[in-house]
């Protein structure tokens, strides 16, 4: 029971990161590999705020603001000039940005992990298992953010413009939608989600280092693909599924050394059986 809960809260973190991947892919048709490193930026900003005596609420706000600025700047500087060039060029640029962010933070903060102390919220006993409050908070807030995002995309003007850009960039432009603005908004939302993910990450794993974002980034990307990249509910399901599988595998001593293999094995199986992912939409390529 406790393992299931640990898995769900880890899954909620993966799901939040996966949402960022999936939104950017769905709308800008590119894989923002620097997304994991935006989480790292968010985590360092929380660390700096807390270390200089700031309140946790201030740390949350600052980290979201910084991540949003970072996400939009990265998009404008690194990706916008490449719009229209081959997807491979954009992908390589994204990987470059990822390493750039890691190296910069290593220069500023050094390579050794820094301790982040977030006041513990304690633990409660549920169904006979001891469960930390922070993992419940992660789950609840994660679910709320995801629901809000779905409503935002479906109901608001900007949200529907995003769907339009995602379906046909050219036609959306003809309809008077400012595609550049919509893509910036997408990056801003994705980065804000990354900031939220960094907070939840720190609640569970109170330590920050320059490579903090890379492994959760890869896992969340896997989750996004498993769920069907481009699909918001798919990213949630993929993330939670991956988190639970990871925790269950780790709790079985025989399987534990192969946890990563199981996770990525699942990805391969899904890609073979259902290449569009669990909830991916089939789209015919127009020639």
């Amino acid at each position: 029971m406790s393992i299931l809960f640990d898995g769900l809260s880890l899954g909620a973190i993966y799901a939040l990161i996966a949402l960022g991947y999936t939104m950017v892919y769905g709308i800008a048709k590119m894989l923002n590999f620097a997304h994991g490193d935006i989480i790292m930026v968010g985590a360092y900003s929380v660390f700096v705020t807390l270390a200089s005596g700031g309140h946790i609420a201030l740390a949350c706000i600052l980290s979201i603001v910084l991540c949003v600025i970072m996400g939009v700047v990265v998009e404008k500087v690194a990706y916008k000039p490449l719009r229209g060039s081959s997807p491979l060029a954009v992908l390589i640029t994204a990987i470059g940005v990822s390493y750039l962010l890691q190296s910069i933070s290593q220069l500023i903060f050094g390579a050794d992990p820094k301790n982040v102390t977030i006041a513990s919220l304690g633990a409660v006993t549920l169904f006979g298992a001891k469960i930390s409050v922070s993992s419940i908070v992660t789950l609840v807030i994660g679910a709320v953010i995801m629901a809000a995002l779905t409503v935002f995309v479906k109901k608001t003007r900007t949200g529907r413009a995003m769907v339009a850009v995602s379906e046909d960039k050219g036609a959306a432009m003809l309809m008077g939608i400012n595609v550049n603005k919509i893509i910036s908004v997408t990056f801003a939302i994705g980065s804000a989600l990354a900031a939220a993910a960094s907070l939840f990450y720190l609640m569970q794993i109170p330590s920050v280092e320059p490579t903090l974002g890379s492994m959760p980034g890869i896992k969340a990307f896997t989750a996004a693909v498993i769920g069907g990249i481009g699909s918001i509910p798919g990213a949630m399901i993929g993330g939670v599924l991956l988190g639970v599988i990871e925790k269950v595998c780790l709790s079985v001593p025989v399987l534990a050394p192969y946890t990563t293999a199981v996770e990525f094995g699942l990805l391969i199986v899904i890609l073979l059986v259902r290449p569009i992912g669990l909830l991916g939409k089939k789209r015919r390529e127009k020639v």
Binding site: S2, I3, D6, L10, L31, P87, L88, L91, I95, S103, Q106, G110, A111, D112, P113, N115, T117, S120, A123, K130, S132, S134, Q204, I205, P206, S207, E209, T211, S214, M215, I218, F221, V225, I229, E246, K247, L250, S251, P253, A256, P257, T259, T260, F264, L267, I268, L271, P275, I276, R283, E285
Partner: protein, 406 residues
């Protein structure tokens, strides 16, 4: 969709590359040390007879104006903190030696290349160093890289004294590779003996993807089987090394949890213990040195570890080193820094004992001479990580101390 699956394929292969890069330091299994002793004792007699000519000039050392000590280590990437510590410790030793007049008026220079803790980069780094006039070396910092470095060094006959690579294949790679730190099996055996004697419910968390951790664990496992003591085993790997709630959950009723791992993960495990309400005693090996910086007041578990180096020691030599290090780098030295510092001084002392007085000395001749010196019965070195003598296998013999945090 076609384009998309191409992208996925690329990403998958990329993530594989990343995984390999992450595991680069951990390829080799530890082998039993028993055969080494016999092979080594033959070597002693041979080594004593080896003739060397310290006046000879090396192929690439013609332009040397200082003695060049080469090394590779992770200066960037996941393991960078280890490489940087070794580099800083070694550089401090070099600065002190030079300030005191060098060796017969000739200064030393440290030339350290980044190997990102990967074996291929250590090999490339070795070549670059050799061609740049390296005369003796500190090998590399992490085990996988150090084995690769030592194998290349053995081909040329260059001496290597690794500060911190503790897996046995590193010194088994050649007759002229030595180490400053404990070997992994030593750590495992000492820990098993201590824990089996003092505790009942024993748990272990080890890193299955890391040579250091698995090396200690394998020796621990064998020793525990021999002592007929049971324990609960949990593991993690390089891709899942930040969230330990599952492992701690499984071990929360243990009296003691043995952690043959590095301090970063140990700090996170200590914090996971707080979250899970587990008050077990946490016991580890030298990899735990530095854990104090990773925990805070919320952690109430007692933590201690076996190590050759204690930063708070009152020993005059150690405190002088700690003060000098703090003055230079505004940080306390960890064990890697102490190992790097000792490695440079050990080479310096051996060269002094040999009476080296040729700045262009051939690395191959110097390698033979240093190997003979290190394995000779009357060479010992008293450093900040304890008094050391070396056996013919290249292993260092010294006494551990137990550091208690709380």
């Amino acid at each position: 969709m076609k384009k998309f699956s191409k992208v996925i394929a690329l990403l998958l292969s990329l993530s594989l590359v990343l995984c390999f890069a992450a595991c680069g330091g951990n390829t080799e299994e530890t082998t039993a040390g028993s055969e080494e002793t016999t092979a080594g004792s033959e070597e002693t007699t041979v080594a004593a007879d080896i003739a060397y000519d310290l006046t000879k000039e090396g192929e690439y050392t013609a332009d040397n104006t200082e003695y060049v000590i080469g090394a590779t280590g992770p200066l960037t990437g996941d393991a960078a903190s280890y490489g940087i510590s070794v580099q800083q410790g070694a550089q401090l030793a070099i600065d002190e030696i030079n300030a005191a007049g060098g060796l017969n008026g000739v200064n030393f220079k440290l030339d350290m290349k980044d190997d990102k803790a990967t074996a291929p980069d250590a090999s490339t780094g070795y070549d670059a160093l050799f061609e740049a006039g390296m005369q003796a070396s500190l090998g590399s910092v992490t085990s996988g890289s150090a084995e690769s470095f030592a194998t290349r060094a053995a081909e040329d006959g260059v001496f290597s004294l690794t500060p911190s690579a503790s897996a046995d294949p590193v010194i088994n790679a050649s007759n002229n590779s030595f180490r400053v730190c404990f070997g992994d099996p030593d750590n495992g055996i000492m820990s098993a003996e201590k824990l089996a004697k003092e505790y009942k419910n024993i748990g272990v968390i080890y890193d299955s993807s890391d040579a250091y951790s698995s090396g200690i664990y394998d020796a621990f496992k064998a020793k525990m089987a021999e002592l007929n003591v049971t324990y609960i085993e949990q593991s993690f790997d390089a891709e899942n090394n930040r969230d330990f709630s599952t492992q701690v959950e499984a071990l929360k009723d243990c009296d003691v949890i043995f952690l043959p791992i590095y301090y970063t993960e140990a700090g996170l495990i200590a914090k996971a213990c707080v979250a899970k309400g587990c008050d077990a005693f946490l016991f580890g090996c030298d990899g735990l040195d530095g854990v104090a910086s990773q925990i805070d007041a919320t952690v109430t578990n007692k933590i201690s570890y076996l190590t050759p180096f204690d930063v708070n020691s009152e020993d005059a030599k150690v405190s002088a080193f700690v003060t000098a290090y703090e003055t230079k780098y505004s940080a306390k030295p960890d064990q890697f820094a102490a190992d790097g510092y000792d490695a440079v001084y050990a080479i310096f002392e051996a060269m002094k004992a040999l009476g080296v007085n040729n700045v262009k000395v051939d690395p191959i001749e110097l390698g033979k001479a240093l190997t003979a010196t290190f394995t000779s019965a009357d060479f010992s070195f008293d450093g900040v990580t304890g008094g050391m003598v070396w056996d013919a296998s290249g292993a260092c013999v010294k006494e551990p101390i137990i550091v208690e945090l709380q």
